[in-house]
Symmetry: C2
Subunit: 328 residues, 2 copies
């Protein structure tokens, strides 16, 4: 399997991206195409003893920054690493793409260059988040489409169910609709109409779910419009980050606390890891005709390696055919 | 100052409500009117040695349950403790009301029985949440009005600024608009138009804020529609609760960890308290013509006492005149 990597996307590119790619290539059965500034890629590899001899490099002279408008991919920067990588995927030069770059640009570029699965109205940004029971849930859409219609939310549920089943190995994923209460009549027109669609579908729809129950694992798929999903995702990340920050401060506060830290540090790290969104590797874009995967912007080599593994599973699971069959 | 208390609202009513009211009456300079089932109120007071001799009791035969539809206040249960208490407030028998009962019913009842401040389109549910810097921010609206217009969000900002300044003693409260990114063009029509209104106002508007920065204290007032606010509030609560649950498990996992727990338990409790939404006491309903305060549903005596103190500050701060002047 050939996976195309945007070597220039993310806060730690190209070094950590190239490093993670090399690790993935040697651990998993994947070939990597690195897309980006050839000089820089070669230099960081040499400087850091990373063996990229088996990887193909496709040169791209430009880079899309994180704060640039998503449309930049196509219009202003056709020679950016992301745009070139997406074009390679569209042309069939690889089976999937992974980028730690600008999320908006990956969504827009994925939709316009790689195109959509036939019948899918809008691809969605769908991070997989940890909950405290040791499992995960997919939040879809987390920001690609701020305004949504009920049919879009129904399609999100279908796509996420396929992903959770095939990639995350969850049997009959429980689909919940994010709402202000669990009763059927809760919410606005979007929620009412989506509820009807989901209730009458073949999905394992469990009804409305409240945001407070997501971290306890109330569902395997949480469906919502992109504005709502962005709020949930970022509150989730923010509160977890703030609380772990407070814990860290607490344990370095006094000599006594430092001793306590020594006793529980292993378990604490394990707990933090369990709840660390970065550990999961990233978020697939669901609905593109070929797998497009967004690794975290702050990806280090290990996270990026994880992202490549998940992308491989995304291809292996044949998620896209599954979605095509369900929608078509 | 006379504060009307719905003695029957909340998970621990009437005992904890009566107890908290008695403590508030003796600690702060307030008179309390207890509204609810007279027999029950007298019985729990006698059984638990609570001195209610200085409090007036107004009998109400019915109770609104937490899962009842909000409209029940007026239509189905005019003799409920909440409805009777709200009517007493409307009639001027007290200066403010506190209830730990059904949030929806308190909002609807507050709006319809106590009425709105002249010029205010819709009262909002506005919890004050802790952030990790030791301060607080008001989230408005957190669920009273799922669909909002820009003028409503502007009014929320005005009301919350008055509250944060007068009650929480924050100088020139920083108002942020919840959005998917900080750039001015982010969001949908509601956010675009609200941005314009806030930018051209006298408020201390700091622009769009992302949900991930709320727990770090990026703003003192976070403005959004009720659906969005409910998602933020409940994710905030849920993640914090889940993480504290994980920490608790961690510290009881092994003998070694229990020793560590012994060393840091004081600091941990303090940290949990700092981040505990319950400690804050509750959420004012902003926009009613007289102060209506929602204490947490799970209020114990201490939380309810805090809620009464905040309600007293809400009256003392003359927040409602402040809002009237700003809107009128």
């Amino acid at each position: 399997m050939k996976i195309i990597v945007d070597a220039m996307g993310g806060d730690n590119a190209p070094l950590e991206i190239v490093k993670g790619s090399a690790e993935a290539a040697s651990e998993y059965d994947v070939d990597i195409i690195l897309v980006g500034d050839e000089n820089q890629i070669n230099k960081v590899s040499e400087d850091n003893d990373i063996d990229i001899s088996k990887m193909e490099i496709v040169h791209a002279s430009d880079v899309i920054a994180n704060d640039e408008d998503a449309d930049a991919v196509l219009k202003k920067k056709p020679d950016s690493s992301l745009a070139v990588a997406l074009k390679l995927l569209a042309e069939g030069k690889g089976e999937a793409i992974v980028s730690a770059g600008n999320s908006g640009a990956i969504c827009v570029g994925g939709t316009l260059i790689v195109k959509r699965i036939k019948g899918i109205k809008r691809p969605a940004f769908a991070p997989v988040l940890p909950h405290t029971n040791g499992g995960f849930f997919m939040l879809i859409d987390a920001g690609a489409n701020l305004e949504c219609r009920p049919e879009m939310l129904y399609q999100y549920a279908v796509m996420a169910s396929a992903y959770m089943e095939k990639v995350m190995k969850v049997d009959k994923p429980r689909v919940g609709l994010a709402n202000v209460g669990t009763e059927e009549h809760k919410g606005m027109e979007l929620q009412h109409n989506t509820y009807e669609l989901l209730k009458n579908s073949d999905l394992n729809f469990i009804g409305n779910v409240e945001a407070r129950d997501l971290s306890d694992g109330v569902c395997d798929v949480c469906v919502c419009d992109g504005f709502t999903g962005n709020m949930i995702l970022k509150t989730y990340e923010g509160v977890a980050k703030s609380l772990f920050g407070m814990i860290k401060q607490l344990f370095s506060k006094s000599f006594k606390n430092k001793i306590a830290a020594g006793l529980v540090i292993g378990d604490l790290k394990e707990m933090a890891k369990k709840f660390d969104y970065n550990e999961v590797g990233g978020a697939p874009i669901m609905g593109t005709a070929k797998p497009v995967f967004k690794a975290h912007g702050s990806s280090k080599a290990m996270t990026f390696k994880n992202a490549i593994r998940l992308t491989k599973d995304y291809v292996d699971g044949d998620v896209i055919s599954e979605i095509s069959n369900a929608i078509g």
